[in-house]
Amino acid sequence: MIKFINVYKHYHNNHQALSGLSFHIDEGEMTFLTGHSGAGKSTLLKLIALIERSSHGQILINNRNINGLPQNKIPYYRRQIGLVFQNHYLLFDRTVFDNVALPLVVAGENHREIGRRVRASLDKVSLLGKERSLPMVLSCGEQQRVVIARAVVNRPPILLADEPTGNLDCELSNDIMKLFEQFNQVGVTVFIATHNHDLISTLPYGRIILQHGHLAQ
């Protein structure tokens, strides 16, 4: 499903963020990406979402090399990937409903289908009933769940999360992890970057460990 072959990434300031990464994640797997701060976790996820382009090597998603994807095809590619990123990326002048609906509106879904799917998605993250609220009045954990609802609303086969529990306390973090496990159980490939070792130490999933841009053995 996700396959890296000898991938390098250097930023414009010549900083080598990733060097010679090769690994693969099978379809339907749940995998953690760990490593110290600055190890390159966010960079790796951005390469998959094509927010950044790799400098060298191949990234195969569904056996297709996404490095060859032209700029104007990126939006369609991104619709297959749910993104839960560090800084919430919610629109604070719109209701919860409108925030979650955004990927569907962008894809040109019709009205009735949007309503149905948004409610289904909010139901999964236990936020049904908050559709009309503005994100501002929600707690931090609830905001994060809105982001997750938006990420899964068009049922992407891949879900990427960057520090989804970054600014939540431990108890809430466990709830968020349970959510990801639920999505994984219905077949979604889940890839979560976190530096919180305690949180995942007891979980039975695969992990990829980064150290200064290299894979740690």
Binding site: I51, P75, L91, L102
Partner: protein, 311 residues
């Protein structure tokens, strides 16, 4: 078939939504929008007004197109009896199309009609006006050399006091016309450029205002077209509203100027009627505004939107 029609309906409906949404956005920033619309309307009304003025000047000069005539003012002792032989002689010249004799009395009568100076003319002891002969020149002889040559030969006759081919003012009018067209061209280009900059800047500001929203939309798979659309519609509205306001500016100008203009034209030529072109303008102004507006916002989105990427 049914399926396609259904999708088209959804598509059009979505466009309509975005269109109205953009109008709502303009309303929310009323002051900025009003300024932008005003600048656009002035930029459209100014060349339109000049164009109207020029069309009217052209109309005047076209009315005088048939002045391919030479007037011969005869000596005072030229009698009506001499006229017949003289006109027959002229008639045989190859450059001359038609010859018409006008007695001095007839000249006076015409002048009386034109000037309205009845009282003064009645008090004159005798008719001060000479007899005139009006010569129509053949079309193919209407060039400066031939006419000059003709004038010299005509003035050579003892009976002729003066031969006159008065085209100077017409030439002047035509050159005003040409200069005016050039001027309008330059003005229109400059003003279009300023519209481009004004709309471009307004769109740029609203792009900056909505930067975080644009990033999120790109992140969840929004295409550039989807993101551009509201801005293009904003350009559409700016142009359309600017065009309509420009038309009202013309209307206002007409209300203020038509009375003095009519007075002026009456003094010179009673047949002339100043045309305001209001009905073609109510279509032409908004359409040029819309074209200009969409083009400007398209340039603005092209140059600013691509820089905004999620990080």
């Amino acid at each position: 078939m049914n399926h396609i029609r259904f999708n088209l309906k959804v598509y059009l409906l979505r466009h309509l939504q975005v269109m109205l949404f953009s109008l709502g956005q303009l309303w929310r920033q009323l002051l900025t929008s009003t300024m932008t619309v005003l600048v656009i309307s002035i930029s459209l009304a100014l060349p339109a007004g000049l164009y109207i003025l020029l069309q009217n000047i052209k109309q005047v000069s076209n009315q005088w197109n048939y002045v391919s005539q030479i007037s011969l003012f005869m000596e005072y002792n030229f009698s009506d009896r001499q006229a017949n032989t003289f006109t027959n002689k002229l008639q045989s010249w190859p450059e001359i199309d038609a010859v018409k004799y006008q007695t001095s009395n007839k000249s006076l009568e015409n002048f009386r009609k034109l000037s309205g100076l009845d009282d003064l003319l009645n008090n004159l002891p005798n008719n001060p006006l000479p007899a005139t002969i009006i010569i129509n020149i053949k079309k193919d002889s209407l060039n400066p050399d031939t006419i000059n040559n003709l004038l010299i030969r005509l003035e050579g006759f003892a009976e002729v006091e003066q031969a006159q081919f008065d085209m100077e003012w017409l030439k002047r009018l035509r050159s005003i016309n040409k200069t005016g067209q050039l001027g309008i061209g330059i003005l229109t280009t400059l003003l279009s450029l300023s519209v481009l900059l004004v709309i471009g800047n307004t769109i740029r500001l609203s792009i900056i205002n909505r930067q975080s929203e644009i990033k999120v939309i790109k992140l969840v798979g929004g295409t550039n077209n989807f993101i551009n659309r509201p801005f293009l519609y904003a350009g559409f509205w700016f142009g359309a509203l600017g065009g309509i306001v420009a038309w009202f500016i013309l209307l206002l100008t007409m209300a203020l100027l038509s009375a003095p203009i009519n007075e002026l034209t009456l003094l010179y030529n009673s047949q002339f009627n100043f045309q305001w072109f209001l009905s073609p303008m109510i279509i032409a102004l908004p359409i040029s505004g819309i074209i200009l507006g969409i083009f400007s916002s398209w340039i603005a989105t092209k140059s600013y939107l691509s820089n905004i990427e999620p990080h």
